[in-house]
Homo-oligomer: 295 residues x 2
């Protein structure tokens, strides 16, 4: 196990513990809703976004618990989006991480509500003073998370993605789509550690720029895995984008150019991290992990 | 036109103006999403929740614009919940206020995303400093709105409501359901004007208690209209609860007892408003309006 894998596992465990506290096993009238929210969030995910928060926060000596709370809030947004994206009216995915999707395990109505309530919970977590003693810091985090989640961010990206099924997008259009759909949350994750630590604007910008490269690399790698990956490792069917005749970054670039693009993005990310010196090691390792993963 | 009707109309116009600013006619990649968000929010609704905010805020001399922004945020949550509640997997309602439901006018995927993005937008509106110059006030509003919207509030109530289709609820269970499903937002609306105005705890509690009575009266009146109302005025089919064999407050109380319950709730609300004297006139008029409306 590498140092990064150990860090990732520790971070993921801490996030699961927070989710378990936030979403206790419920009894009574709303038990089904809480059950679906637990199923959606306690899912053994890699927790890359919370890891980004914590790795950024460490650069500014932010107390661990604060970074974990912000990471948990962002991960709740990510989890809700997966529940809604999997719905029959959206991507119609029967499985997620090798388990039945939320609407298969429960039902569509419950999955819609669980997603809605997870979104609310994300904002509730940020607004609590355990996240940061200064209200002005919490409110800035809230504003940026709302912006990254909504029509100008994640939801907007998913809308463009759905419409992309009707026509082939260009390379630039796919990059734009990805920046909204997954990039906005990545960038906020990376920047939020700096916000918690009262960092300067150039430091915040550098972490956003790093995450912009990371997000694009993540998408290119996802597309490569969809072409070349192992369905058993992925926990889902592969080759679906190609089967659906969907334009992907890899289809547009070709496999070789896509691979070399990953390395150029890594160099660009390194350039942005330079100002932080060796302390940015975990962020460097994360980039390498994202472009080398097998699922 | 009564004074209240004029006040309501002015307030509704101001809310529509804010929504128009927040959601301009969009072009380009996300145009469809913004279109569905506009359709969901610029809908000619009565805007009772924003009116509650403004009427409460006036007791504490809060600048109009601040109350309107909080009202707009709460109304965005209400509008998103209607879009999701109307979905085929939920209440499967083909129309809303005499127009095709969002998923009929657009499609299911767009309606799900528009609801999601409207929820994010609500939190974005509250986090902006135009809502209140003090971050501590904004963050308290954010925390309470998240709480009222999520599993312990509106979403939880909708979950109980969906499960109620499988069995008959008791009177107390329906009251609990209603407190979560619509009451939580009513109570937050009423209290938020006091929060904006830096009011005391007893003043905040009194406004919450007033809204608790108002919410229950609203539900009883809704049930009465479902039994006795005019479908042309309602803009939707009536008698659906009875046809679905669903327990309603009116079915459990009987029409006569339901009507007398409305008057007892009005007396209780008056008791809570007493401390505010004549300045609470609009809140009194709103209560009378809710229990006397014809749709």
């Amino acid at each position: 196990m590498t140092a990064l894998e150990r860090d990732l596992a520790q971070n993921a465990e801490a996030i699961e513990a927070i989710f378990s506290r936030l979403l206790p096993e419920a009894h009574g009238a709303q038990a089904r809703l809480y059950g679906a929210m637990r199923y959606a969030s306690l899912n053994g995910g890699k927790r890359l976004r919370p890891f980004l928060v914590s790795a950024g926060a460490r650069l500014f000596n932010v107390p661990t618990e604060r970074a974990l709370r912000v990471g948990a809030a962002i991960e709740l947004i990510h989890c809700y989006s997966l529940v809604h994206d999997d719905l029959p009216a959206m991507d119609d995915a029967p499985t997620r991480r090798g388990r039945p999707s939320n609407h298969v395990q429960f039902d569509e109505a419950t999955a819609i509500l669980a997603g809605d309530a997870l979104q609310s919970l994300a904002f509730e977590v940020l607004s609590d003073e355990a996240t940061h003693p200064k209200a002005s810091v919490r409110v800035e985090l809230l504003r940026l998370l709302a912006d990254a989640s909504g029509a100008a961010g994640m939801c907007g990206g998913q809308m463009i993605d759905l419409e992309a099924e009707a026509r082939m997008l260009s390379f630039d259009e796919i990059v734009h789509l990805q920046r909204l759909k997954t990039g906005a949350l990545f960038q906020f994750s990376s920047e939020s550690g700096a916000i918690l630590g009262g960092a300067s604007s150039p430091e915040r910008d550098a972490l956003r720029a790093y995450a912009d490269d990371l997000g694009l690399a993540f998408q290119i790698k996802d597309d490569l895995l969809d072409v070349e990956g192992d369905p058993a490792l992925a926990g889902k069917a592969l080759g679906q984008d190609a089967a659906a005749g969907k334009a992907t970054l890899v289809a547009l670039l070709g496999v070789d150019e896509a691979r070399s693009r990953l390395l150029r993005l890594q160099a660009s990310a390194e350039h942005h991290l330079q100002r932080f010196g060796p302390a940015a090691g975990p962020l460097r390792q994360l980039f390498a992990f994202v472009i080398n993963r097998s699922h």
